[in-house]
Symmetry: C3
Subunit: 190 residues, 3 copies
């Protein structure tokens, strides 16, 4: 009978459409932008935070994963971090050399022991470009999610008080962040 | 009546399918490849332009955003740029140190004040690998779209004549480029 | 006749749905993660391999393209590479300066002629973090696909024996790898 035939085809179509919808929902990139902040150099952090706030302005949810040298980004902050606990000497030596706060980060080029960075900052001030501390505070207030790499913090031997720039910042591993990154529209390794 | 019932289901299906199609069209990545050329080092620019021309050959539309150190990529060009206008001293000092043209860009490693780069270029010439100037000209002729970061140009105090390597190159902000990047198949931060 | 009308609409729907399915299949990103390992610095290679093994653990197929400085990643290996064949002097000089094996790779920051790297490695050992050689072996055993850039190998004048760290590693060009990258969920340029 033709009607049964029509009914069968219709049922098939309905089933197929719902299958396609499910598949599509699972595979389409979400409105997420993920940024891996690895190198932790002043200019690159500046680029990362500019991308973060721009993506936010475009309506995306933004996640920044601070790892390795980039973990320095979260050091310091309003409260003076407690650095009195004992550390083995390679950590203490590295600590001496690593930037203590966001404004100590070196430039990736032409740093010249901080002179280049100072020059750049004075140029930015004259042109009315926001500096790194302001940009970071802005990013945080606007709702950029910051994550700090668990392995990096434990490797550098930092206490929780030392990564106090972003209170309540999430501490997670690379795999957890990558799972998020794989669902996102764009991932940046900076 | 069964027929009305069939008709109703059919109308639902048609509606759902067109909704899914619209959703899919909005969310699927387009045939775009976006490259953020940030570090402006000879070898990294080489990689960026190789990716750009390869993506073009694969049928994608390609956009390159030259920002920060990467803005140097667009300096110089056929016409001698006019550099006579007065600048404040930090800009003039930085200007003295920054590469004036594409072949002055340093290597990201083993540059040794330009000796490393010269060695590499001689090796490339012997092997018949295109040099940066040729690659850049090729990219432009084949139709790679170049954009220069508005903030960088204003920060470095360059005149329009100075970024004359690509005549008519688009000058835009990070957010404008990011909007394009979020629709693309792949984004590279180089 | 109403039934013919229904039949026609049904046929249209079936056709449209199969068209949408095909379009979707062609454009959706596959379960692939592609990593371009360009800079070949110890810490960045560490990040690249951590991402590679994490992506694998999340169920993705992972491809790593070792190019330029990153090609060093594949040098050395179990068999002592034969380095006796004659090379022109710029290649020999570069050869003298380039890392011979994975543990010779410099840090991207604070390398201090290898002292920084040694310190970092000792810190990692104390914390029980796997070192680069172990991570590389793991990546290979778990099934990360390694590709070496054809142009780089020919440019540096390496013999096949010299890139013996990953036996049977695929040698391909940038365009071939990019074609893969454009289908993937995430691409990293590291």
């Amino acid at each position: 009978m033709p009607e049964t035939n029509l009914e069968q085809r219709l049922a098939n179509l309905e089933q197929e459409l719902s299958r396609l919808r499910a598949e599509f929902a699972e595979r389409r990139p979400e409105d997420l932008v993920c940024i891996i902040c690895f190198s932790g150099e002043w200019d690159k952090v500046f680029a990362a935070l500019t991308l973060a706030t721009s993506a936010l302005a475009l309506g995306s949810e933004v996640h920044v994963f601070c790892t390795f040298w980039g973990a320095s980004l979260l050091r310091g902050g309003p409260a003076t971090p407690c650095r009195s606990h004992k550390r083995p000497w390679p950590q203490r030596l590295l600590d001496l050399l690593m930037p203590k706060s966001i404004e100590d980060l070196p430039l990736s080029r032409m740093n010249f022991f901080g002179i280049g960075r100072r020059m750049l900052r004075s140029m930015m001030k004259k042109k009315g470009v926001a500096d790194l501390t302001t940009l970071m505070a802005e990013a945080r207030e606007l709702g950029v999610h910051f994550h700090v790499c668990d392995t990096s913090v434990s490797l550098f031997g930092w206490s929780d008080a030392e990564i106090g720039r972003i209170p309540g910042c999430d501490r997670c591993g690379a795999a957890t962040f990558l799972a998020l990154a794989l669902k996102s529209r764009a991932v940046f390794f900076i």
